[in-house]
Amino acid sequence: MAVLNEEQEMLRDMAREWATNESPVTEFRKVRASGEPEAFDRAAYATMAEMGWAGIIIPEEHGGSDFGFLSAGLVVEELGKTLTASPLIATTLAASAIMLGGSEEQKSKWLPKLASGEAIATLAIDEGPHHDPDTLEASVSGSKLTGTKAFVAEAHGADLFVVAAKDGLYLVEKGDGVTLTTRRLTDQRSHADIAFDGAAADKLANGGDDLLDKVLDRARVLTAAEMLGMAQIVFDTTLAYLKQRVQFNQVLSSFQALQHRMADLFADLAQMRSAVEAGLQAIDSGAGVSRAAIVAKAEANRVMHTMSNEGIQLHGGIGMTDEYDIGFYLKRARVLEAAWGTRSFLKNRFATLGGY
C-alpha cells in the first residue's frame, strides 16, 4: 500500500466502512435481480456523491475536492471489493476528459453537476468488441455527430457522453439522435450499443491531438484500481476458505501444494498493487503517464485473470455456485480485462512507445 497522507487515509477508511456496511455484495445481487438496464442504485450513488466521491479529481472551483487520482483510486478499490455497481468510474473519467480538454464554458457547465452527482457521464470510444482507438469511424459534420459506439459502460444512466470521433472528443447529451440498445454482458452491469444519428456535439478542443490517449490512460488506471480491489478480495476470501475447509482430516491451508500457490498469488498481488498505485501516482505527478498506465492495466489484467481462475479452483465446487459470491468476480474480471485494452493490446502499445 502506498504511504498515504492523513486525508487519504480518512477517505479510504470512509470508503471501506461504507462499502462494507452499506454496499456489500448483497446490494449488487439486488441490482442484478431488479433486471433494470441501468444496473445501479440511484440512491446509493446519490450518497456516494454526497460523500464527495464523484468530485475527487475535480477542482474546487468547480465543486470538487481536487484530491487527485491516487485518492480516487483508493475509493474505487474499496468499491471494487464489494462489486458496488455505480457510474462513479465512468463519471470520473468523463470529468477528466472535460478537465483536460474542455473550454472554461464546458467546464463550468458540466463539472459542478458531475461533482454533485446531479449528472452522470461516460466515455463512448470503441466501435466493436475489441478496444481499438486507432480506427474510429464516428464523425462530426456541422456539430452533428454520426456513428455507432459499442459496449458503452454505464450508458443507460448517463446524461452525457464523451464521444470519440475521427477528429477528437465531443460532448453529446442524451436526447435527440442518441439511441441505446442494451448489450447485457456476463457481469450484469450496464452496457449498451449507441447509435448517434446527427446528435448535437460540442467539441473538447483544448486538449491537443493526444487528448484521447490521455483520457484512455486514465481509464486504464482507474479500471485497474477497481480490479485491484476485486483481486484483493478474491485472494482474502480464498485464503480464509482454505483455512477453514477440512479435507483428509486436515485444513486445506496446511497442504504445501496449496500454500505455494497462495504464495505465488500473494507475490502477483503485490506486483499488481505496486503497478496500479504507480499508475495513479503518475497521473497525479504528470510524469511518464502513458507507460505507467499500460503497466498498471497490463498487470491488473494478468493478475486478475489468474486470481479469478485460481479463486474458483481453490474453492472447489462451491466456487461454481451462484449462491457464493466469487463467481461474480470472475465474470466482472473478464469484462474489465477487455476494457481499454487486453494485455496483448497493451504489450503492443508498450513496445511501440519503447521504439521496438
Binding site: Q250, A263, I294, K347, A351
Partner: protein, 402 residues
C-alpha cells in the same frame, strides 16, 4: 528571480550536492569511469589495481561506502536524502560505490543491531573502509533449506570455543578474512542450541576448498573446521540467540538479493539486443512479432517489479520494520533475473551460447556465464520454495498439518 521563500533545507541540500561533486572530481580516477564494482573488489586487494585501491580508500575514509551507517563506527552518518544525492552524483559521474560485499550487505547491519560495543568498534570500521572481507558460514551439507538442522559444533572450553564441522556454499570463502557463522552450542534444542560466532579464516584448522560451478567459476567454497579455537569474545549476542540473530541477517540478505540476479538490471535493453542480433522492420520495430511480444511482456512485469521494490522500501521506512513483501520480492526478482538471462541468450542464438574464443565478444561470453550463474539466485539466500513457505506461514498464517 529567486524569491525569499526558499527554505533553509534547500540550501543545505545544494551545499551537500556540491560537496559530493567536488569529492568525486578530486578522487574518482578517470580510468574507472563506467566500470562497476568488479569481481576484483570481491576477490580482495591482491587483484585491485592502484586506481581501484585509491578510489576505495577515498570513499572508505569518508565513510561514504556505507553512507547511512553511524559516523562513530566509520560510516558516513548521512540521512537518506543525502545518501540518495550521493548515489545520484556517483551515477552522474559514471562512478560507483567501491565498498560492498557481505560485510556491508548483511553482517554490518546485523552487528550494529546485536553486537557489543567492543565488537562494533572492532569490526565495523574495517568494513566501512573496505579492508576486511567477510564470508557467511550458514549452509551445511545437511542444513541448506532446513538451516536450523546445522551440526557444526562449538564446544565451550572455558575461555574459547572449539569448533568442528563443515560449512558449504561459502561465497568468497577463499578470499575472506573472517566468517560470520551460526554454530551449534547445544544439541538438545534445534533452534535454541544455535549461537552466532565470528571466526578468523586464518585460524589453524580452517580449510577452504572452492567448488567449480556449471558456469565455470568458483565463487562458492566448502569450508572445513577442525579443532578451530575461537575466543569467547567473538560470540555475538547471548549463547543460544544465534537463530534469532541469524534470521535477522537473512532479512538483510533477502532484501539485497531480490534485485541481484545477474543481467537483471544493467546493460543494454532486451529490445536493443534484439535489434542488434535479429531482423528489424523499416519502421524500426522487431521483425519477429512473437519475440517483440515476449520482450514487452517481460519489461512490463519488470517495471512492475521495480515499483514493488520501491514500495517495499517506502513501506518499511514508514512502518519502521521489514515489509511483509520482502520474501515476495526475493522470489520475484530472482525469477525475473533468470528470465531475462534466458531471453538474452535466446535473442542472440548460438552466438549467445559461446564458452570461449575470439569469435565471441566479451559481452556474449559474460552473458553465458551470467545465465548459468544466475541459476543460483533462486537457490541461495533461501530458495524460492523456502520463500513460499515463509510467505504462506509467516505472512498468510497457513499452518502445518496438525
Amino acid at each position: 528571480m529567486a524569491t525569499q521563500l526558499e527554505p533553509e533545507a534547500r540550501d543545505s541540500v545544494d551545499v551537500f550536492r556540491e560537496e559530493v561533486r567536488q569529492f568525486i572530481a578530486d578522487n574518482f580516477p578517470e580510468e574507472l569511469k563506467g566500470k562497476g564494482l568488479s569481481m576484483a573488489g570481491a576477490e580482495g586487494g591482491a587483484k585491485e589495481t592502484p586506481a581501484q585501491q585509491a578510489w576505495r580508500e577515498a570513499m572508505g575514509q569518508r565513510g561514504w561506502g556505507t553512507p547511512t551507517w553511524p559516523k562513530e563506527y566509520g560510516g558516513g552518518g548521512l540521512n537518506r536524502k543525502q545518501a540518495a544525492i550521493l548515489n545520484e552524483e556517483l551515477a552522474r559521474a559514471g562512478a560507483y560505490n567501491p565498498i560492498g560485499g557481505m560485510g556491508v550487505m548483511m553482517f554490518g547491519p546485523t552487528l550494529l543491531e546485536y553486537g557489543s560495543e567492543a565488537q562494533k568498534q572492532e569490526h565495523i570500521p574495517p568494513i566501512c573502509r573496505g579492508e576486511i572481507r567477510w564470508c557467511q558460514g550458514y549452509s551445511e551439507p545437511n542444513a541448506g533449506s532446513d538451516l536450523a538442522n546445522l551440526q557444526t559444533m562449538a564446544e565451550d572450553k572455558g575461555d574459547h570455543y572449539l569448533v568442528n564441522g563443515q560449512k558449504t556454499w561459502t561465497s568468497g570463502g577463499q578470499w575472506a578474512d573472517k566468517c560470520f557463522a551460526i554454530v551449534r552450542t547445544d544439541r538438545s534444542d534445534k533452534h535454541k542450541g544455535i549461537s552466532f560466532l565470528l571466526i578468523d579464516m586464518d585460524s589453524p584448522g580452517v580449510e577452504v576448498r572452492p567448488i567449480t560451478m556449471i558456469s565455470g567459476t568458483s565463487p562458492f567454497c566448502e569450508t572445513f573446521f577442525t579443532d578451530v579455537k575461537v575466543p569467547k569474545e567473538n560470540l555475538v549476542g547471548e549463547e543460544g540467540q544465534g537463530w534469532t540473530i541469524g534470521k535477522r541477517l537473512l532479512q538483510h540478505e533477502r532484501t539485497n538479493l531480490s534485485g541481484a540476479a545477474p543481467g537483471g538490471r544493467s546493460g543494454a535493453s532486451l529490445a536493443d539486443i534484439a535489434k542488434k542480433y535479429g531482423r528489424v522492420n523499416k519502421d524500426g520495430t522487431l521483425a519477429d512479432p512473437v519475440l517483440r511480444d515476449r520482450i514487452a511482456d517481460f519489461e512490463i512485469r519488470w517495471t512492475s517489479f521495480l515499483h514493488t521494490a520501491r514500495r517495499a522500501v517506502e513501506e518499511s521506512k514508514a512502518a519502521g520494520g521489514v515489509s511483509e513483501i520482502s520474501s515476495a520480492l526475493k522470489k520475484l526478482g530472482t525469477k525475473m533475473g533468470q528470465e531475462r538471462a534466458e531471453l538474452t541468450i535466446k535473442i542472440m542464438g548460438l552466438q549467445g551460447l559461446g564458452w570461449e574464443g575470439d569469435n565471441f565478444s566479451p559481452i556474449e561470453l559474460q552473458g553465458v556465464r551470467a545465465w548459468l550463474y544466475g541459476k543460483a539466485t533462486t537457490i541461495y539466500g533461501g530458495s524460492t520454495e523456502i520463500q513460499n513457505n515463509v510467505i504462506a506461514k509467516r505472512v498468510l498464517g497457513m499452518l502445518d498439518h496438525q
